[in-house]
Amino acid sequence: MTSDERRVVIVPCSGIGKPFGTVSREAAYEVCEALRPGETQLVALSKLVLGEEEACRRVGANPAITIDGCKLMCAATLVKLHAGTIVSEVAVLDVYRRHKDLKPEGIAELNEAGQQLARVVAREIAATIDQVHQAETAGGADHA
C-alpha cells in the first residue's frame, strides 16, 4: 500500500474559526508529513465539496480516515457522498473527552494543549493506518 494508488486518504474537516477544526487539520498534517508520510495522502474537504475529479477519484479508490471537529461530521459525510470507504471516523471531541487536560484554544495558532491534542489524535490515526496495513497484508497472504 505504498504506491500512490494505495495510500490511506486523510480528510480533515474545514471548520473555520473553531479550535477543534484546527486540531483536526493539525492532526492531519502530523500524520501525513511526520508519522506516516509514505503511506497517506491528504485530501482537502473543499475539493470534495467542489467535486474536483482527482480528489473524488482518490477517495473512491483508497481507504479513508476522516477527522471531524464537530458533530456535523462534514468530512465523514462528504467522503460517504463520494462513495469512499471510511476505515475510521475520528471525532476530535471524543479524543478530548479522554484527555480533559488538553483543552484546545486559539484558532490561527493553537495553544500548547491543543497542539498536544492534535499529536494524540495523529498517533491514534497512525495506529489505525498500521492496522489497515496489517489487514491488507493478511488479506494478500490469504489470496497468495
Binding site: P19, C70, K71, L93, K100
Partner: protein, 150 residues
Amino acid sequence: MPDYLETTVGKFTFRVPTDRFYSADGVWLQPQGGNQVRVGVTDYLQQHSGDLAFVSTKPRGTRLVLEEEFAALETIKVNLSLPSPVAGTLVEVNEALGTAPERVNQDPYREGWLVVIEAANWDVERTRLLDPDAYFAVMRSQVEAEIRQP
C-alpha cells in the same frame, strides 16, 4: 410526549415544551410532584453553546441557594456556569452524562436532564419562573439579538 412551541430561524429550529417552567438563562424545570423538580437546559441554550465535552454537577445532597451554580458545562465553544433557578437541595444527578454528555445535545428535554432539586418551597419558587409562552418570547428575542450581531 409534551407539546412544543417551536420557531425556526435559518437552518436552526428551537423547541420549547409546554409542560415545564423556565429561567431566562435557559434552564428548564419540570415538576415531579411535591417540591421536586427535574432540571436541564433548553434546546436553544444547548444549540447556542455547541457540542458538550463535559458536564459536572454539584454532588447529591448539596444545599443550593438561589442563583448558586448547580452545574457547569464545557462545550467546544464555551464554559457555562448554570445558576440554580430555585433554592433547595440537590437530590439526584444524571450520572449517565459523565460518560455520555452528548445526551444534552441530542435530547435536552428528556435523556439530557441534569439534576433533580427538592425545592425549598416550590409553590413560592415557581412564581419567579417563566411559563413556556414567556420563555419562548425571551428566547426569540435572544435569537433575534444574536442574528443582528455583525
